[in-house]
């Protein structure tokens, strides 16, 4: 059964990004540094280090896993995940209870991030320009349900805040996003 998810009504008013607004790659970014950052993000997700993973995000974060229609507006159509910062926080709080059964016991995970490309710059809400990156991934998930191999394409947006690099946007398109998929309980 499903209950009215009233308390989950975190406003997802954030607009979907305008795909036409991609500018040149902003200065001061090196593929190597970016790769290492993405590897770290991947490791934190693989190892269920929820606090460290959550800390990567900017306040205007968007964490998006579209469903079958990639052209759909996530504010008007359902997605597998479409979290703003506050919902990311709720998601972390839930799993940390240890009773988020879809992840209790947690999946064993390892993912490969590859084909990392700096795609361009994307104007952000702070008047700055975020670095937009494309990469492909495979996640090997093992849980009692069995082993599942997930694959897809991730678009990241990174931003420098002081001496920190922050994750402003992560859109994960599963290769089989248009198919029936099993429970996706881990951080993809």
């Amino acid at each position: 059964m499903t209950e009215t998810a009233a308390p989950l009504a975190a406003s997802a008013a954030t607009e979907a990004p305008d795909p036409d607004a991609l500018g040149p790659v902003p200065d001061g970014w090196d593929v190597r540094e970016v790769e290492q950052y993405l590897y770290r993000e991947a490791r934190l997700a693989d190892e269920n280090d929820y606090d460290a993973w959550e800390a990567l995000w900017t306040d205007d974060a968007i964490y998006w896993v579209p469903g079958d229609d990639l052209t759909a507006d996530p504010t008007r159509n359902v997605s597998i995940i479409f979290d703003n910062r506050s919902r990311i926080s709720t998601r972390m709080k839930q799993v940390k209870t240890g009773k988020r059964y879809a992840q209790a016991p947690p999946s064993n995970l390892r993912r490969l991030i590859s084909n990392v490309e700096l795609l361009g710059g994307r104007a952000n809400g702070d008047g700055g320009v975020d670095l937009e990156i494309g990469a492909n991934f495979i996640v090997f998930e093992s849980r009692q349900r069995g082993n599942t191999i997930w694959g897809g394409r991730t678009t990241y947006r990174l931003r420098r805040e002081g001496d920190q690099i922050r994750l402003a946007y992560k859109k994960v398109v599963l290769v089989d996003h248009d198919k029936v998929v099993p429970t996706l309980g881990f951080l993809v």
């Binding site: 308390p7 009504a9 896993v65 469903g67 359902v78």
Partner: protein, 422 residues
């Protein structure tokens, strides 16, 4: 595996497998029983397929799953809705490979036969090989014999005769009315897309769980706790909500007693009139004095046999793949004339349902553990006696139990047995 080890003490007749207070585990694991369910339930009774709002325009079509069948829900030139079986009448090829679109006809790629979107054979190339045009009367794509809809919810039945949709819906019809009654325009759309959630579980575990008021506090405690949700309280010992068996296998968790107790409009939606002024305004405009009642009582929580579940602001379409696997298709309710609410319903639904939903992913984990559990041999039975000792009959003659009782399941099994023994 249990199919390898048939229970010693049952002969396998449904009367023995399904009893007043318990159900035998083999009904969830035996491939033979699943095959019989296909014939006697899925391919006979009314099954929810989709919603008219998915194909608003003439010649719109969308592909759907109908149990093990790949079907196309189409709207023809005149606006009539059809459900076609995706198989060519020539050599049986799958005809349509698009998920959706707009077309007055379908063309089979193998030899170019074409079909009207109502299923009739339109033409076949090199017709001399058949003695000319129009020589293949009676050939066409399979058309599901009965298709009907209520409030835009499209149902199909493979049985040429039988109860009408309205007869099948019976009192569940009123629950759909309640939902529609929350729209200032009196309409519902299901056009926000469907999430497709693969579930390694027998479909009945889902159907039974949908109105199981006993599990939320335990399965969903994690999200209720972190969000301070009041939902848990609706499904507790002290709740005034009732579980109702609506007949024909339908059941509901009627939460109105709780909401009436508070008497707060929009509480059912976890919000207040102030936060959705436009909507409240339109409702008062349209429904006057009755608007408040509607906004207090909220949306239904009803499981319509065998596969449509309306969970307040979400709708689920359950379809079986095999004895141990099914698919949950879920979407957000969209109310005509309520843009303010609709966006919130989309956002809440994304948070709650689908493969990563903060509620449904946990239910689904239970479904899958349940399937693994019933592969075990002892105890052989599932217990469904909860509340049997405190049931009563309401003013309409329906059996009702407390918020956490298994009244809905017992209604499900009564109807299931009647169909399987028919």
């Amino acid at each position: 595996m249990t199919s390898l080890v048939p229970p010693a003490d049952v002969q396998g007749t449904y009367d023995q497998l399904i009893r007043a207070d318990k159900v035998h585990g083999s009904v969830y694991t035996d491939p033979q029983i699943f095959g019989e369910e296909l014939r006697k339930i899925w391919f006979r009774t009314w099954v929810f397929i989709g919603h008219e709002s998915e194909i608003p325009e003439p010649n719109d079509y969308v592909r759907k799953q109908f149990a093990t069948q790949d079907v196309i829900m189409t709207r023809d030139r005149e606006g009539a809705v059809h459900v076609l079986i995706n198989r060519c009448a020539h050599r049986g090829l799958q005809v349509c490979d698009d998920d959706k679109g707009n077309s007055s006809s379908f063309r089979c790629p193998y030899h170019g036969w074409t079909y009207r979107n109502s299923g009739e054979l339109l033409g076949y190339p090199y017709n001399k090989g058949y003695g000319g045009k129009g020589k293949l009367d009676g050939l066409g794509m399979g058309q599901v014999p009965r298709v009907d809809s209520y409030a835009g919810f499209v149902f199909a039945s493979m049985a040429k005769e039988g109860p009408t949709l309205i007869e099948h819906l019976g009192s569940a019809k009123g629950e759909i009315d309640r939902l529609v009654g929350l729209s200032p325009e009196g309409t519902v759309q299901l056009d926000a897309g469907w999430l497709k959630h693969k579930t390694r579980s027998n479909w009945k575990f889902l159907a039974e769980n949908e109105t199981d008021g006993y599990h939320p506090q335990f399965v969903h405690g994690s999200i209720f706790g972190v969000t301070g949700s009041p939902i848990g309280a609706l499904y507790s010992d002290s709740s005034t909500a009732v579980t109702r068996s609506l007949g024909n296998g339908h059941s509901e968790n009627d939460l109105r007693p709780e909401f009436r107790k508070f008497g707060e409009p929009m509480r059912w939606f976890g919000t207040t009139p102030e936060r959705v002024p436009e909507y409240v305004g339109r409702m008062n405009e349209v429904y006057g004095d009755d608007a408040e009642r509607r906004m207090i009582e909220g949306a239904p929580h009803v499981m319509i046999f065998p596969n449509l579940f309306i969970a307040e602001i979400q709708v689920f379409n359950i379809q079986p793949n095999a004895v141990g696997e099914c698919v949950q298709y879920s979407t957000a309710v969209q109310l005509g004339g309520a843009p303010e609410l609709n966006r919130r319903m989309v956002s809440q639904s994304i948070g709650s349902v689908g493969p990563a939903g903060m509620l449904l992913a946990d239910d689904t984990e239970m479904y899958e553990r349940n399937q693994r559990g019933v592969e075990m041999l002892d105890p052989e039975w599932l217990d469904v006696r909860r509340g049997l000792g405190r049931e009563s009959t309401d003013e309409n003659g329906f059996t009702i139990g407390a918020a956490t009782d298994e009244t809905g399941m017992r209604g499900f099994w009564k109807h299931y047995k009647s169909l399987m023994e028919a």
